[in-house]
């Protein structure tokens, strides 16, 4: 049924349709509305047979989830930002134990400096933790991919993270086609765990593994993830059969057939990028775009074959590997190993910095002319940066960078950006 609702509410409804049996809730902006709405759905009786637990931390949230999933219950939780870091130990543990938990990440920046707005550093911080990571473009996809996520997770006995841009998606109201229960039940069978804690069949889970077997266990974690490269498109196909909507599988492409320049990105910013691509195409530029939906496992082949014909690739990412540059770009470069194509890294949208069409036009025009630096920080206020570097040259006790920059930028500008 088509509804005009908040993204978080849409996700809550989608999760509820998947009949989770245990939901662990801990508030952190910007995912909080999702677990709030789920709490109301449980309280109202619309979501039956579900234990909704208010826990004491994100570490507690995922740890409760580890217990419930290991005892055979379909389990869901959500987090963001600092919460992701706080639960990091349990993030690795859940995948190591092979527990098919589904977790929404309302993507948000990480402090310090504390920042509640959107970028994707939180999900990226655990990209190698063994979870499948699916990034969604819009709220319809958020709904659809949550439903698929449970199926992917349970088929592989691996946890899945559904990553959606905080505020931009979680707090946006738009038309969403929310499936009905009958359809979801047809698509998603009840959870049959591969392993579970049962007094009638006692097993030891989470035992110590030494050097004689650890490598094989880790290899199999990698192997299992790569199986998802086949499974994700397969389940997308199944989903399309029942619901009539295509969520795109591993990647989505936009006007890349004849493109010399391809913009590669993750998440909701593709909406703006597509508009700019359209506008530049109308002026004759051979430009296209590619969205990576599955960041883990990383779809090397799909990306390589999509980008092979391009002359240049601009990876636009909302995250930063400090001391390296781009995280997504580094992965994309690996996929293009041996292909004669120039890869540019653009870091943008950090901590909620708006990504405007104007800036993107300018960026893409420079890219087409090959006038980009290898790593570009979109809309970086170089004068502000220079002044701070000068202060540091002049003074030993130059003070805290974050506060200095805020003073320099000024209250008015800060309010405008926010």
């Amino acid at each position: 049924m088509l509804k005009q609702i908040e993204g978080s509410h849409g996700v809550a409804e989608a999760v509820a349709l998947c009949r989770p049996e245990v939901i662990c809730c801990y508030p952190i902006t910007p995912q909080t509305h999702i677990v709030e709405d789920l709490g109301a759905l449980v309280k109202s009786g619309k979501l039956e047979n579900c234990e909704y637990i208010n826990v004491e931390s994100e570490f507690g949230a995922l740890s409760v989830g580890i217990g419930s999933s290991a005892a055979g219950a379909r389990t869901y939780t959500a987090t963001a930002s600092q919460g992701m870091l706080f639960m990091a130990e349990a993030v690795y543990n859940a995948s190591g134990l092979g527990l098919p938990i589904v977790m929404t990440v309302g993507n948000r920046a990480i402090g310090a400096p504390i920042n509640i707005w959107n970028d994707q550093t939180d999900s990226m911080s655990v990209r190698d933790a063994g979870w499948i990571q699916l990034f969604v473009e819009d709220n319809q996809q958020a709904v659809d991919i949550h439903i698929q996520a449970f199926k992917i997770a349970e088929r592989l006995s691996l946890p899945v993270m559904v990553c959606m841009d905080g505020f931009i998606l979680t707090h946006a109201y738009e038309g969403i086609d929310v499936p009905d229960q009958e359809q979801v039940d047809k698509f998603l069978p009840p959870f049959e765990p591969r392993q579970s804690l049962d007094p009638n069949d006692p097993i030891s889970l989470g035992a110590m593994v030494g050097p004689e077997a650890y490598t094989e266990v880790r290899y199999l974690a990698h192997h299992k993830q790569t199986q998802a490269l086949d499974l994700i498109p397969e389940i997308n196909e199944e989903f399309k059969q029942i619901f009539g909507r295509d969520s795109g599988g591993l990647i989505s492409t936009y006007n890349i057939e004849d493109a010399d320049t391809v913009i590669v990105t993750l998440g909701s910013v593709i909406g703006t990028i597509q508009e700019v691509v359209d506008e530049q195409r109308s002026q004759g530029a051979k430009i296209g775009a590619l969205t990576i939906r599955s960041f883990r496992p990383f779809p090397f082949e799909a990306i390589r074959s999509a980008l092979e014909g391009a002359k240049r690739v601009v990876v636009f990412e909302k995250c930063l590997a400090v001391g390296l540059g781009g995280i997504v770009a580094t992965n994309v470069r690996l996929a293009l190993d041996g292909v004669a194509v120039t890869v540019y890294t653009v870091i943008g949208g950090l901590g909620g910095r708006p990504i405007t069409r104007k800036s993107l036009h300018h960026l893409f025009e420079n890219a087409v002319k090959d006038e980009l630096e290898e790593v570009t920080f979109l809309d970086l206020k170089t004068d502000v940066v220079e002044r701070e570097l000068e202060r540091e040259r002049q003074l030993i006790r130059s003070g805290s960078i974050a506060e200095n920059i805020l003073r320099d930028v000024g209250v008015v500008d800060a309010a405008k950006t926010a």
Binding site: E56, G67, G72, A73, L197, S204, G206, A207
Partner: protein, 329 residues
Amino acid sequence: MAHQQVKFYQTGTLTVGNRLLDEDNRTVQATMDRSNSLDSGHRACQGCGEALGARYAIDAAMRATDNQLIAANATGCLEVFTTPYPESAWRIPWIHSLFGNAAAVATGIAAALKVKGKKEVRVIAQGGDGGTTDIGFGCLSGMFERNDDVLYICYDNQGYMNTGVQRSSATPGGARTATTMPVGPQPGADFDKGKNVPSIAMAHNIPYVATASVDRLHDLEAKVKKAMSMHGARYIQVFVPCPLGWGSQPAKTVNLARLAIESGIYPLFEAEHGEITSVTKIRNLVQVDEYLKHQRRFAHVMKNPEQLSAIQATADRNIQKYGLLGGQE
């Protein structure tokens, strides 16, 4: 009431063979159908108090639940010595996740069982004092506060023994550990520090809190049995001497546990909903040096009258606070 000690006229002592007891009062370990939940062949040190405590506690819980039990285990000695896979000493469904989350994992298991309608299956979380009073404390307090249907058992050997004997918030003042070495003017662990988790547990108003000791295994069994007759969050802290960490003779484990109780240094009590309901009285009061002198971790204390009297003062305060006297013969 905890296990009631009775002087048997047949033997003239508190010790008696099981055959003289009612079947209900006999130790679980004496029964043919004991579950051997923590089976032999594990890799605990000789004289390990934790292995002894865990075996009695879990078997008692198994009997109380008709073998319908699942356990979550914190990282630590108990986890390591029982499960160098593929050798597992556990005959119950058992999960180890992390050092600091055993209570939360148990909450999750209990939630799953509830939603699946498996009312008969019960859940235990267990860990050492490090995993309980320090790194696992947030999850533990959360489990208490929500009154989740979990019995948490802390095997308290007063330090991080698995990592090589470092101080935890359960390490007593004066004790030598690898991070509180007996050097300088105030040797060993600082006094007036540490965390009394049984009292903190009581402050959560949970249905049941008890302390127990491996010198009186009937009492431990009775407390576990009682805990399993209740629902909601329950906490039992078992005093388990560690020969390796304490520098004591493996053969002295039970004896040391008894001396800790008889000196008043480790009060045994039960509490329900935040109120103390029973206290184990001291039978033969001893001074703390009787307890300390068998342990190398306190060797320097024995030569330091100031520290010795500080430890004696702790015992005296316990005796006063919990009313431990009155059990003398």
